[in-house]
Amino acid sequence: MKAETNLQKILARGEFAVTCEYDPPRGVDVDSILKNAAQLKGKVDAVNVNDNPTAKVRMSSWALSKMLLDVGLEPVFQMTTRDRNRIALQSDLLGASALGIQNVLCLTGDHPARGDHPQAKKVFDLDSIQWIAAVREIRDNGCLMNAKKISGSPRFFVGGVANPFVQSLELHIIRLEKKIAAGAEFIQTQPVLEMEPFKKWLNQAKDQGLTDRCPVIAGVIALKSVKMAQYLRNTVPGIMIPDTVMDRLGAVAENQQQEEGMKICIENIEEIKQTKGVTGVHIIAIGCEEKLPEIIERAGLLPRPDIS
């Protein structure tokens, strides 16, 4: 059965969606995240919870998703196919459903060679497209990947991701089409820091009719400092931080860099709001999540539509 999540309803109504994300803690202390997240109530439509981002060990995504749910925020449970085979993926998906988690974002995940346990055995039993198809099969037909019927009717709203900042656009658009054909109901992009290549990608997707078939939520990022930007550039695959942004951050005093990073983010949100074919923003504020409410407010994204 199709989920009726907040995020799904907002996108279905053609409203401009606002989501953000948290990395779960490396440990068991969730107090600061939950305290922080409480400030987001009524300001975001859903909150993504990353699944061991950059292949570094963090608390499981479903656990923090459930805790966010308990404090009144709608989670987007990120699931990568990097660490779990189809048995574990399906098992965790059913568990998440039983806990009330309904938004699922399916990704392949960064390679373990880039993470904090490079000695780990990689899994990648499935790729993200196969996993999206499997989640849809479970939801739509109540069948596991082996065609066995399951009990109950889990509800999911299923998303996929895309990186617009690639050289071979045609190839990546083919893959995007496959994701949507496999059953992705929304697409979330890597953070946009440069509008021109993003629009080039978007136009190709539009030309193929993909933005009509599936809502696109554009990622945006508030860079906390030049140091953070450098770190992301060096360690996070698929994130593109142009020199112009580095220069702009570097041109202000260190204690002004966070504000400058927020300004860049807000400018990008404003431009994205005016861009046809995009139906939301996904705001990433690594290491400065406490600034999310301010960014959302200053970007004119409030009040959030009441869809109850």
Binding site: F124, I129, V166, Q167, I174, E177, G238
Partner: protein, 224 residues
């Protein structure tokens, strides 16, 4: 062919620490072609070990022998005589890991030591450089990918196109590594097969791979 690499000399010295009389066995198959375990490499390693042990004041005796192949029992049988006539306390095999395992199974009281690390199935890229091309998944599908194998040559083994970490045609794991999906795309475009690239490839049945347990092939037409 099977590509292998000799273990570091220190690791081999540590393995033979308590041995004095060794038979070192090379192989004239793949590991001769990839310059890891042929007659020449046996001679080089044996003399390196002799010199190192002499320096330690614990000389070692090493006999050298290179078999046609170590992955055939009939060639392993050639070791019967030398082993009977000598009092070897260990055998070092310079074959892929099939060799030392065959020797271990044939001579149940012999200590068998691997002199090589068996690396992968691949081929020569240029002199002294080898690349991996096959993961022996047990059900080849490269015709779906322009004749190239993403299971082996994509770091994530993706079957439906490149990941978001593929930037400028290079792999997120190693910037010196071509993203195989870029190469698959270019080939399929040339072949006029982009429509096939757009077809979803279903989840792979890994039961034919090592995931299904160690494999065995029985050819009824050939068994006696």
């Amino acid at each position: 062919m099977i590509i292998a690499e000799r273990k570091p000399i220190q690791e081999i010295l540590e393995m033979v620490r308590n041995h004095q009389r060794i038979l070192m066995v090379g192989c004239k198959g793949c590991v001769t072609v990839c310059n890891a375990g042929g007659k020449k490499e046996v001679a080089i390693l044996a003399s390196a070990l002799r010199i190192a042990r002499r320096k330690q004041g614990k000389p070692i005796t090493i006999d050298e022998l290179t078999l046609d192949r170590q992955c055939e029992p009939e060639f392993i049988a050639w070791l019967d005589d030398p082993i009977k006539k000598n009092d070897y306390d260990a055998i070092i095999s310079l074959a892929c890991s099939i060799g030392p395992q065959y020797i271990a199974e044939a001579f149940d009281t012999m200590v068998v030591l691997p002199g090589l690390n068996t690396s992968f199935m691949g081929g020569t890229l240029e002199h002294g450089i080898w690349g991996e091309y096959c993961a022996a998944c047990g059900s080849c599908e490269i015709h779906n990918f322009g004749g190239l194998c993403p299971i082996t040559r994509c770091a994530k083994g993706l079957l439906n196109g490149p990941c978001g970490g593929s930037v400028d045609g290079k792999c997120e794991v190693n910037k010196d590594l071509d993203c195989i999906w870029e190469l698959i795309y270019k080939r399929m475009k040339k072949l006029g097969q982009l429509d096939r690239l757009g077809q979803k490839i279903a989840a792979k049945d890994w039961s034919t791979s090592l995931s299904g347990g160690p494999r065995k092939i029985i050819r009824e037409d050939l068994t006696i």
